[in-house]
Amino acid sequence: MQAAADNVFRALADPTRRGIFEEMTRHGEQTVHALTRYAGVSQPAVSKHLTVLKRAKLVRHRREGRETHYSAQPQALAPLVDWMSQYGAFWRERFDRLENLLERMDK
């Protein structure tokens, strides 16, 4: 589970990959050519990005003739959604620190 979450984090850390993923969630299945046109980077670069997204299970592919079609698998975001349920953790921890500081401060 942790490894899966790490892969998803890493895959979405790159803005071009996020853009490619987002494009597929908006417009459904796409060919590498279509995604290359959209992303504005070279086709080998797009293929590399797709490999990273595949490893994170964020996209699935199927071959049809010479074309490979890719589609987004948003359910792969599930580990992140779980992880995010702790999202208030940052501020709660800061609240604790604030209270500790208040204890140390003069009136």
């Binding site: 948003p74 992140l80 959604v81 702790q86 208030g88 940052f90 709660r92 500081l101």
Partner: protein, 140 residues
């Protein structure tokens, strides 16, 4: 094509056994803010642009760009909170109580352009990334 989804708000409430004036100092004096939040060049002046800085982590430069939006001494403080293209606003509201102060922190306005597309997910991934950044900031 993007649609604008309702924005997301995080609210944290806490009662603190300290007077509002004291909490206000901790929220508005740079060296004190640094002790509980992050290094900063905050000034309690509406329109002042400043930044919070945390230790950078992979994929995040550790910088939060902010602008002071509201300064009502001992009562309300608000600043924008922008990082990696994510804009939100953090608002602190202090309300005196019999034993101290009710402290409310609201962070609202995370941009979320596509939450309708994520049928399986409760939150759009942009929200997630925004939260990740904040949590990552807490790791410093």
């Amino acid at each position: 094509m993007t649609t604008t989804a309702p924005t997301h708000t995080l609210v944290i409430d806490r009662e603190m056994a300290h007077p509002p004036e004291k909490i206000w100092r901790a929220l508005t004096q740079g060296p004190l803010i640094e002790q509980w939040l992050m290094t900063n060049d905050f000034q309690p002046v509406v329109g002042h642009r400043f930044s919070f800085r945390a230790t950078p982590v992979p994929g995040w430069n550790g910088v939060i760009d902010s602008e002071v939006l509201v300064v009502e001494p001992n009562s309300q403080l608000s600043y924008s909170w922008g990082t990696m293209g994510m804009e939100s606003a953090v608002t602190w509201t202090l309300t005196p109580t019999a034993v101290g102060t009710h402290v409310r922190m609201e962070q609202s306005g995370f941009r979320s352009e596509e939450s309708h597309e994520y049928k399986g997910a409760t939150y759009g991934w942009r929200n997630f990334i925004g939260n990740l950044e904040r949590v990552a900031g807490g790791l410093s």
